[in-house]
């Protein structure tokens, strides 16, 4: 069953056509990949889905509900969350505080918000920090973490938020290559253990081939190919796009 249905979405910035008639389906409970050369419009598509800008035409549905006219916070409250390519964390707060602020406010009543964080909240925060390998750093000002660590923290924050669908923009960019296997493993576990549907933009072919059930490939803002990892791997158009033979 599909959870996100993007159909015929186009988006241009002035003269630049960032997305042209893109149609993509994200299956519930699965891991979907989105690849494409730099500037092919992947981040733009993410932004259109989560409501950062209006789309020119087409429709975007989340669990059957049209969301292409909704605003960022409204969409986020449906349980559709994203991480940023350039990470966004609260640099002045420490890691635990970052985690606590990520508690799913959408599930709280006003009364709940006027309570202090409980011991369980902290435990959950620390467990998740442990899960991504930041336990040792939990009391450090998060702005002092390296880019890769901030990426991990943002991932942990997203998990803390208990999303239904998580859109990850290049989760492995900037991560120490020796840690990437660990991260792949965690992404898979987030999917299988927490039941979070993942939609991942990735440049690293090995990573995405390893994880995704279905992969979509964008080039020049258009959908070039889609299929399983084998199909994509053997698709001549994808190979050409990546080798720059436009």
């Amino acid at each position: 069953m599909s959870i996100i249905d993007v159909s015929n979405v186009s988006k241009s910035f002035g003269g630049v056509k960032a997305n042209t008639n893109v149609s993509i389906t994200v299956e519930k409970g699965g891991i979907t990949g989105l690849i494409g050369p730099n500037g092919s419009g992947k981040t733009t598509l993410f932004n259109s889905i989560v409501g950062y800008h209006p789309i020119d035409s087409g429709s975007i549905k989340y669990e059957g509900q049209e969301i292409s006219k909704m605003l960022v916070p409204e969409i986020a409250r449906l349980g559709l969350l994203r991480t940023f390519q350039q990470t966004r964390i609260y640099g002045e707060m420490d890691c635990v505080e970052n985690m606590l602020i990520s508690l799913p406010h959408r599930k709280m009543s006003i009364w709940d918000t006027f309570q202090k964080n409980t011991a369980e909240d902290r435990e959950k925060a620390e467990n998740l920090l442990d899960f991504v390998g930041l336990y040792e750093k939990r009391f450090l000002r998060s702005g002092s973490l390296s880019f890769g660590q901030q990426k991990l923290l943002e991932f942990a924050m997203a998990l803390m938020n208990e999303p239904t669908v998580l859109l990850l923009d290049e989760p492995t960019a900037g991560i120490n290559p020796t840690l990437i296997n660990g991260l792949i493993d965690r992404l898979k576990r987030a999917n299988s253990e927490f039941g979070i549907t993942l939609f991942i933009i990735e440049h690293n072919m090995r990573v995405i081939m390893n994880m995704a059930d279905t992969i979509y490939c964008l080039a020049h803002g258009e959908l070039l190919a889609s299929g399983t990892s084998e199909e994509i791997q053997n698709d001549q158009r994808v190979i050409d796009a990546y080798l720059g033979a436009h």
């Binding site: 989560v50 986020a76 409250r77």
Partner: protein, 349 residues
């Protein structure tokens, strides 16, 4: 540590309770100091803790004054007749009428202001950065002008409340304690609020509202509620002020955009915004500065105040608490580590 803190608070409470009796000649100044503390703390709720720098919080002060006055008078007489007979006919208030009017007026002022914060905030909180500041300033200016054209509440002439029944000095003490109790309640409330999830969400909105939105935090809801809460307390303070000043008019004393409206911001900046104690310390410093310049600078006090604003804003914006934070981070419970590497990540692999 916990015992120390309790001891500290106890001493503070004793000082607060004793102050008007120890310094009977400074009753008005002490009450004003409380007013400054209250408005500074409430300004900091949205400005310091949430990053929404309002220039129009004075709206709630002025509105609080008028609402309290209208309630207190309206309980006994017809407000329109009362104001139009300004200086003319005699209107008496019994003791019971005065105190009922005071209590209901002050509380009513708070509630009215909280509700109006919801309504105004619904529009202005869509605005960010300078537009929010200008928009709220606009609301305050417009309100002052409209009220001064509204004859029912006395127009530009203003309105006069009954005086305290009994001896004048008792009246001053009464007002002092009204302010002091409001201030202490506000402090206790904020001390709790800033430790809750709500407080954390306020900080998240300040530090990166877009991220907060992207995480599904109800940013609008938090902005509205915290502004309404702060408006409640300003409204209460305005209501008490009305009974302190007794006779007031809209532009200079109620909606005093460029006096109290800006002073509250300067107090917060002086002490350090986004902290619990900063606004309090700032209000005390500011009040001292103001008293000194008012007494010794004759006519130039306003120039000195303008200069103080500029110097604070341009050169000393983090305030005293911010300064302490940079030199003594450990006092604020921050862990600092010189070097950070991927060791933690390594360990988890």
């Amino acid at each position: 540590m916990a015992i120390n803190k309790n001891a500290l608070y106890t001493i503070l409470l004793i000082v607060i309770a004793a102050a008007p009796f120890v310094f009977p000649n400074y009753g008005v100044q002490l009450a004003t100091l409380w007013l400054f503390i209250i408005v500074a703390m409430t300004w900091d709720m949205t400005g310091g803790q949430m990053g929404y720098n309002s220039l129009g919080n004075i709206f709630f002060y002025g509105t609080g004054m008028y609402v309290a006055a209208v309630i207190a008078i309206g309980l006994v007489y017809d407000v329109g007749e009362y104001t139009s007979a300004f200086g003319g006919g005699r209107y008496d208030f019994t003791d019971a009428q005065y105190f009922t009017g005071f209590v209901l007026g002050v509380i009513g002022a708070g509630i009215f202001c909280a509700i109006s914060a919801f309504i105004i905030g619904y529009v202005t909180f869509g605005l960010r950065g300078p537009y929010f500041a200008i928009g709220t300033l606009g609301v305050a200016i417009a309100a002052g002008e409209l009220v001064s054209n509204w004859d029912w509440v006395g127009g530009g002439q203003g309105i006069t409340l009954p005086v305290y029944p009994g001896n004048l000095d008792d009246g001053k003490v009464f007002i002092y304690f009204a302010f002091a109790i409001t201030g202490v309640v506000l402090f206790i409330f904020l001390n709790y609020l800033y430790k809750t999830r709500f407080g954390a969400a306020m900080n998240a909105i300040r530090d990166d509202e877009e991220k907060a939105e992207a995480m599904g935090i109800h940013t609008m809801r938090y902005k509205l509620i915290s502004w309404a809460l702060s408006a409640f307390f300003i409204g209460v303070a305005g209501g008490i002020s009305a009974f302190q000043i007794i006779s007031f008019e809209p532009l200079e004393s109620a909606y005093q955009t460029i006096n109290l409206g800006i002073f509250m911001v300067v107090c917060v900046l002086l002490g350090g915004k986004g902290t619990l104690w900063g606004p309090i310390i700032g209000a005390i410093l500011f009040q001292l500065f103001k008293e000194v310049t008012w007494n010794y600078f004759l006519g130039w006090q306003w120039v000195a105040l303008g200069a103080l604003i500029i110097v604070t804003v341009v050169y000393f914006q983090d305030g005293l608490m911010g300064y302490l934070r940079t030199v003594r981070p450990e006092w604020f419970g921050q862990t600092v580590e010189e070097k950070s590497d991927d060791a933690a990540g390594e360990a988890a692999r």
